[in-house]
């Protein structure tokens, strides 16, 4: 897990090591290579332009991911994809007794199926799973990157994973039938 704070250096020193990961994240958000490239390019330009506002010694990764996310949400693709589920974040997670257990899912589900389920998730669920599981961000970093309280990070993540399990269960069921 990356150090959540203490980033110092030039823009290139801090940003370029994140280039491939940002592109991958952009692909997941946009589901389109050209749009992902545009998103990454715009993110880098915005970040470079606003780099003077970045406080050296704070978390650069969370800062630039937030720029990418906000850029995506204000893009045409982002506006189409984003369905605000913030209202659900405050509600307690539903009981998990009806979910398909991961142990059952994992035994039968291949990587492509997980990718397919991720793509089908609402964008705010997809992004929080990616930030946590793929980027290995701490809840604190996710809170900074998305701009929501840590409690909301936890509840949204719980819902996102539940939705993921439900999608995978449905895919598994269709495969069996």
């Amino acid at each position: 897990m990356a150090n959540p704070s203490g980033d110092t250096g030039t823009f290139e020193e801090l940003a370029m090591p994140l280039f491939v990961r940002l592109y991958n994240f952009a692909c997941w958000l946009t589901q389109n290579r050209a749009e992902a490239e545009d998103l990454v390019q715009e993110t880098f330009m915005k970040a470079l332009k606003g780099f003077s506002s970045f406080r050296q010694g704070t978390n650069f990764r969370a800062w630039i991911y937030r720029i990418l996310r906000n850029t995506f949400l204000t893009s045409q693709a982002g506006l189409k994809a984003s369905v605000s589920l913030d209202a659900e974040d405050d509600a307690p997670p539903e009981p998990s007794t009806t979910e398909t257990p991961e142990s059952v899912l994992l035994a039968r589900i291949e990587s492509e199926t997980i990718q397919s389920a991720l793509k089908e998730l609402p964008v705010n669920y997809r992004e929080i799973i990616l930030l946590c599981d793929l980027e290995e961000m701490s809840y604190q970093e996710i809170s900074l990157a998305i701009g929501i309280p840590i409690g909301t990070v936890m509840s949204r993540l719980s819902r996102a994973r539940k939705a993921m399990r439900t999608l995978l269960g449905a895919k598994l069921q269709r495969a069996i039938e």
């Binding site: 280039f19 592109y23 990587s111 799973i129």
Partner: protein, 257 residues
Amino acid sequence: MSCDFNRDKLDAYMDESLPREALAVFEDHLHSCPTCAAEALARLQMKRATRAAAANLAQSPEFSMRPEFRLRIEKSIQKSRHSVLKNRWLPWMAVASVALLLVAVSVPMFMRHAERGEAIAELLDLHVATMASANPVDVVSTDRHTVKPWFQGKLPFTFNLPELQDSPYKLLGGKLVYFKHNPGAQLLFELRKHQLSVFIVQDQQGVMPLGAAVTASSDKGFSVETWTHAGLRYVVISDTSPTDVHSLGDLLRFAAK
């Protein structure tokens, strides 16, 4: 699942985000609860499977990054950074430009001031030398019709001398001087016990960088007044008051018309 332990902590546990105290309690529970331990393991495996599946998207043929893309970004950053740097330096460049402009303006002004001071100083020296000389003038006469003709053939210009009959000033005479290698006239006047020198030289560019208008100044206690008329530079120098110097100047200017 028969365990009623708070499963909400499972996510925080596998995300390594449980507080230290809660982590110790939860791990104790996992040691004693096979159901929760299995669930925690399964979720951890799902997390890893999700990471593996998600990480491969950019390598898939559909999303694989084009080689030129990274190059394009790097070029854009360089180009934009130059622009940012240019903008960042713009205020400083503006300040530098103003400073250069000030230097460009002030240096010639300073030079002109220096040249002017140098010219006045040279004439002051001539005046002081005249005062100290046993023979202050070459043509000794109170008659302007004697003094003026004396300069004929000695100067490439001519001038008029004022009628002093009804004035407190008295013409003592004149002599030929060289100012910056150019011939000029030095006329000596008297007012009470004070003596006044009037220098008349050609107003050539660079010889004396002074304005055309009547300009009074003070230098080392001497009163100085200068002006130009009809291509000639007049400079009056005396240890008397500026008013007295100016009054003689008025007489000379009137005579020159």
